[in-house]
Symmetry: C3
C-alpha cells in the first residue's frame, strides 16, 4: 500500500509550471487543432486516448458543432498599420469567429469590438459558439485610441464540418469502481482557467500510474467545457454507475490562500466528506460552497438524469479574481508553489479515497487489553493521553461495521492519517478485521 | 392563471380601514346580536353563510353557552351622576355580565371593578364566559376618584338560551383540497385584535372570489374564539382531512414593522415553509416563532386529535403591544397602510399555495441546449449570470420529481416568482412537464 | 409516588464528607485489602454484596491479575534517616510495586523515582498494573534534595495469586428495567477522584433504599476501574439488556461551579436527555461533552459490543484540575457543600427517570373545557398566562402517545417538575391516561 509522502515541492512545482509554459501560447477552442495539439503534448506525459466526434453527432439535446480553426487575424488602419494582431494575443479574436476580409468605417467596426471599460489595460476573453459572427477583443485603451476612418479587418478562420476532440485516460485499479477527474481544455491562452487544472490533472495521473495496488480505477477526462462533458456522458451513459467519486479541477494555480470546494449536488456524498476532511486536516484556509447549477462540468455530471457524486476543487473560485477571463490570467498570475500545493492536496484526497475502509472490532466487548500487545503506555498517571493512543481507542470503539475510517476521523477530530495508522496497528494485532 | 400584481395600496388600504370603522362601535361577545350584526355587515362584502348553534349543543368536551345580550349599563353616584356608562365604551362592562340593579356601598362595588393600575388612563377588556357574575371595567384614574358613599349599579343584560353564531364561506376551486382561513369575531370594540383580522380576511375572500381558476378551495371562518373553532371542528370532523394549509389571522393593522409567523404544531408543514419563504422574499422584517399551545384558534386546529397544518399570521403578536386588550386598541392604533401590507402578503401566500407545483425535466441528462431555444445569452464571457438565467438552471437541475418550486426557491435563494417564471418559460419550451 | 424535596444540605453534606474522611487513609489499588476494607465500610451504609474473582479468571480479553498488598515502604539515606515513608502518604509507593530490599547508589535509585517538576510540592499518583516493577513517588523538591550516596530502599509488598474484589447492590423496583450507577474504588488516598463518587453513590443508594415504590431497579457497582467493569460485564453479559439508563460517577466534590456531563456513545440516549434537562432546569452552570472513548468505565459500558446508555457525571472533569492524580487531591480540596449539590442533582435525575412517563390525552379534539374542571382561570383578560397553565396546555397538546413528559419539558422549556404536576392534575381530572 502506498503512503502519503512529503512532496518534493520544488521539483514538482517546477514541472507543473513548465507544462503551463508549454501550453500557454496555443489558441484553443471547443474544437479544432488547438485542442488536438494540446492533447498531443499531454500524451508525452501520460498515455492519453484521443477521441474525435464528427460534427453533427447528436449527444443528448446537443449536436457536435462545426470545427473552428484560425490562422491569422488583424485590424489595419488606413495607413496599413496592424493595430490589433492575433499573433500578439489569441484573445484578440472573438473565439469561434467566422472569416472576414473587409474594409469598413469605424462606426461599423465598433459593433464587432469587445472591451472591458473597467479594466482598460486588459483584453477580454469572449466566445460565440452558438451564433455565427465575427469580432475582435481589445483593451479599452486601444479602443479609445481608434480614430475615425476606414479599417481593414481580416480573419483567416474556418468553421467547417470536422470533429470535436477530447482526451481520456483510464488507470485501472483492482476494482471497477471509478474515480472521475475531469478538466476542461477549451480555453485559449488563459492560465489559471484552466491550464492549471490541466497540468495538475496530468501530474496526478502520472503519480497514479506509478502506483501498483490502486483499489479504484481512475478516469481522467480532458474535455471541452459543456459540450465535452455532455458528449462524454452520451457516449458512456451505461457505465456512469461505476463512478463512485469525482472531481472537476480548475483554477488551481493562483496565489489565493484559501482553497474552495464546491459540493456535489447530493451535498453529502463521500467525495464531499473526503475532500472536506482532507481540508480540515490541512493547515490551509478553506471554504466550502454548496452546489449550484452554474460553474464547470460538474453541472453536467450533477444534472438530474445522472446526479453523480462530482464536486469542484479550486483555489480562488472562477469569476472571483479580477484576472478571470482576461489577458491578465497569464503566466505571471500563476504561482508554481500553489500548483504544487493543489496537487499535493489531491494526492491526499486520493489517499483518503483509497484507504477509507471499514473494519470490525474483533474484541468488541469492553476494550481489549492493549497493554499486553504493546499498544498502551505502561505507567498510568497524570500525563495526557497521546493522539496515537486516542486514535486506537476511537478506531476500536467505532469499528462496528457502521463507521468507516473517514467517519471515525470526522467524529474524533483526529487526522485521517493517524486514524489509518491506528487501524493498521490494530489489524496487525488481530484486533480488527477489514470489512469493506 | 393569475399573477401577482402591484397592489393599489391606497385604495385597498382605505377600504380595509373603512370596514374597521364600521365594525368598531359594535359590542360583540362569543354569542349574541353583536356577532350577528357583524356578520350581516360582512355579508355585504362576501356571500357568507351564517350558522346558528343552539345553547346546550354539545361540541366535543364543551357545550354551547347561553346567549348574552346587553342594552344598557351604568354606575351612578348618590347624586345621580352617571360616572361609568356602557354607551361611552362597551369595554366598561365585564363581557358576559349578568344583569344587576342595585344600590351598594363603594366597598361592595369595588369587588366588581376591574382596572389597570399600570395604565391608569385605559379601560381593560375583561370577560367572564364561564362564571356567572357581573362587573365593570374602568380606568384606574376613574377608580381612584370614586368617593365613599352609595352607588347605583345597573346592567340591563340577558344571559339566556339562544344561539352561538358564526360565519363561513367556501370558495370552490378546481380541487377539493382546502385552504382554511380563520379569524375570531368575538371581541368588542378592539381594533387590532381583531377587527384587523376580520377586515383582511374579508378582503382576501373578495380577491379570491374574482379568480376564475383557483386550484384550491378556500374556506373562511368568522368565529368566536375557542368555542367557535371547537364547534366548527365538531360539526365538520369528517372533512378536516381536506385542509392542506391553514392560517389564523389576527393583529394585522398595528404599526409594528416586523411581521410575526407562528408555526403550526408540525413546524415543517407546507404552510410553514410557504409563509416563511414569502416573508424571506419580501423586504419586510419578520420573526418566526415556534408553535406553542397558547394563542388563538390555531391551538384548537393543532390539538392532538387534529394536528392540522394551521399557523398564525400577525404583525406585532397579541399581548406584546401595550394597547392589547385595552381601550387603546382603537381606530387610532391602526395604520391603514399596515392593513394593506398584511393583505398584500396574504395574496403572496395564496400565489405560492396556488403555484407550488412539481415538474419533471424532460431533458434530464446534461443541461438541455438553452441557446438554440433562446433561453441563454449568446456571447459567453466575464459578465455575471443573471438571476433569471440562474432560475432556469435551478429549475432544470431540481425538477426531478422530488422538488417543488418552493423547494427550489428555498434551496436556490431565488424568489419564488422568478422560479415560477423560469418554470413557465421551460414548460413553454417543452423542457418541463407538470407533475403535480 | 415520591416527590422532589428540598434537600437538608447541611446534614447531608456533612455525612457525605464524613465518609470521605473515613476512607481517605486507606491505600487502595485494583486488588487487595484496601478495596476489601473500603467495601466493608460501605456495608455499614448499604447492604452491599462483595464479590471476589480469583487471579487468573479470564474476563473477555483480560485476566484477573495477581492481588497486591503492602505493609511498609521507605527510602533511607546512609545515615538511616527515612527520607520517604509510605506511612506519611500511600502515594509515595508506585501503586502495584513488587517488593524490594536493597542498597543502591542514587543514580540507580533515580530510575525508580517519579516526580512532578511543574508541581514541585506535590506527590504524583502513579500505577504499574501491567508491568512488574517497583518505584517511589515523591515531591520534586524532595527529589532535588537527594544527595549523592547510597540509599536503602525497602518495599514490603506482595503480588501473589489472590482475588479481585468489587461491591454490588441491587435495589429492586417494580420492573426489571435497571438503572446502573457505577463508580471506581481503586484509587488510594485521592479524594475527588474518587472518594467523592463513592460517597455520593452510597448516599444515593441509601436514599433509594428508603423508597417504597421505585419503578426501576437500581444497580450500584463499586469496582476497580477498567478491569472491574470488564469483569462485571463478563459475569453479567446476558443481563445487560435490562440496563435502560446508566451513569458513571466521579469527581463530584471539587469547588468547580460548572457541572460536566459526558454523553453516552449513543449521544441521544434517554439518560443523556434526562441529565441535560435536569441541568437545564437547575440554576447550575453546566457543560455537555460528547462521548469519547477515553475516561472512566463508561468506555467499557459503551464499547461496541455493548453500547449501553451510560454517561459520565462530574463536576470539574478528571485531568482538568491541577490537583488531579496528586497528593493535593486531598480532603482540603473537597467542599462538603459541593458533594451535597452533586447528590441533590442525582436525586433529581432519579426523579426524572422514575416519572418520565407517556400519557394519552383522552379529549384530544380541541382543548377540553378546563374551566368547568377548575383548571383554568375564570376571568379572561390581559394578564400573562402562568407557567402552571402553560404546562397544562403543553401536556394536553403533546400527550399523543409520541411524547414523554421529558419530551414535553424539552419542547416547552418548562421545568420537568411543573410538567409532571400538570400531568398529575390532568390525570386526576380524567383527561389523561397513563400509557407507559
Amino acid at each position: 500500500m502506498f503512503q502519503e509522502k512529503l512532496l518534493n515541492k520544488d521539483t514538482e512545482a517546477t514541472r507543473l509550471f513548465a507544462l503551463l509554459e508549454e501550453l500557454y501560447p496555443i489558441c484553443r477552442s471547443i474544437t479544432g487543432d488547438g485542442v488536438r495539439k494540446t492533447l498531443r503534448i499531454l500524451q508525452e506525459y501520460v498515455p492519453l486516448d484521443i477521441h474525435e466526434l464528427p460534427t453533427g453527432t447528436e449527444v443528448f439535446d446537443w449536436t457536435i458543432p462545426k470545427e473552428w480553426n484560425i490562422q491569422e487575424a488583424w485590424i489595419k488602419n488606413s495607413n496599413g498599420d496592424k493595430l490589433i494582431d492575433f499573433r500578439r494575443s489569441n484573445l484578440h479574436v472573438l473565439n469561434y469567429s467566422i472569416p472576414v476580409d473587409k474594409v469598413m468605417a469605424l462606426s461599423e467596426l465598433k459593433e464587432h469590438l469587445h472591451t472591458l471599460p473597467d479594466q482598460p489595460d486588459l483584453i477580454p476573453h469572449k466566445t460565440s459558439y452558438f451564433k455565427e459572427q465575427w469580432g475582435f477583443c481589445l483593451t479599452h485603451n486601444q479602443f479609445i485610441d481608434l480614430e475615425e476612418g476606414n479599417y481593414h479587418v481580416f480573419i483567416d478562420s474556418t468553421l467547417e464540418d470536422g470533429h470535436m476532440t477530447y482526451g481520456e485516460l483510464l488507470i485501472k485499479g483492482t476494482t471497477s469502481d471509478e474515480v472521475l477527474i475531469s478538466t476542461h481544455v477549451c480555453h485559449p491562452s488563459l492560465c489559471n482557467d484552466n491550464l492549471s487544472g490541466i497540468s495538475v490533472a496530468v501530474h496526478l495521473a502520472q503519480y497514479l500510474l506509478k502506483k501498483q495496488d490502486l483499489r479504484y480505477s481512475y478516469r481522467f477526462l480532458f474535455i471541452p467545457a459543456t459540450i465535452g462533458s455532455i458528449a462524454w456522458l452520451a457516449q458512456n451513459e451505461k457505465n456512469v454507475d461505476d463512478i463512485k467519486h469525482g472531481l472537476v479541477l480548475s483554477c488551481l494555480g493562483d496565489r489565493g490562500d484559501t482553497m474552495t470546494y464546491k459540493r456535489s449536488r447530493k451535498g453529502n456524498a463521500s467525495i464531499d466528506k473526503l475532500v472536506e476532511q482532507m481540508l480540515d486536516d490541512s493547515d490551509q484556509a478553506y471554504e466550502i460552497r454548496e452546489f449550484l447549477p452554474y460553474g464547470y462540468d460538474e453541472r453536467q455530471f450533477c444534472s438530474p438524469g445522472f446526479v453523480l457524486p462530482v464536486g469542484l476543487f479550486m483555489r480562488t473560485p472562477f469569476g472571483e479574481f479580477p484576472e478571470y477571463h482576461t489577458s491578465a490570467d497569464n503566466l505571471n498570475f500563476i504561482d508554481a508553489e500553489a500548483l504544487g500545493e493543489s496537487l499535493s492536496m489531491l494526492k491526499k484526497v486520493v489517499y483518503r479515497i483509497e484507504h477509507n475502509r471499514s473494519y470490525q472490532n474483533l474484541k468488541p466487548k469492553g476494550e481489549p487489553n492493549l497493554g499486553k500487545r504493546g499498544l498502551y503506555k505502561l505507567i498510568g498517571g497524570k500525563t495526557d493521553v497521546e493522539i496515537s493512543q486516542m486514535a486506537i481507542l476511537w478506531v476500536l470503539n467505532l469499528s462496528d461495521g457502521k463507521h468507516s475510517l473517514l467517519d471515525i476521523a470526522r467524529r474524533s477530530g483526529i487526522t485521517f492519517q493517524a486514524i489509518k495508522q491506528a487501524a493498521d496497528a490494530l489489524e496487525h494485532a488481530n484486533l480488527l478485521k477489514l470489512l469493506s
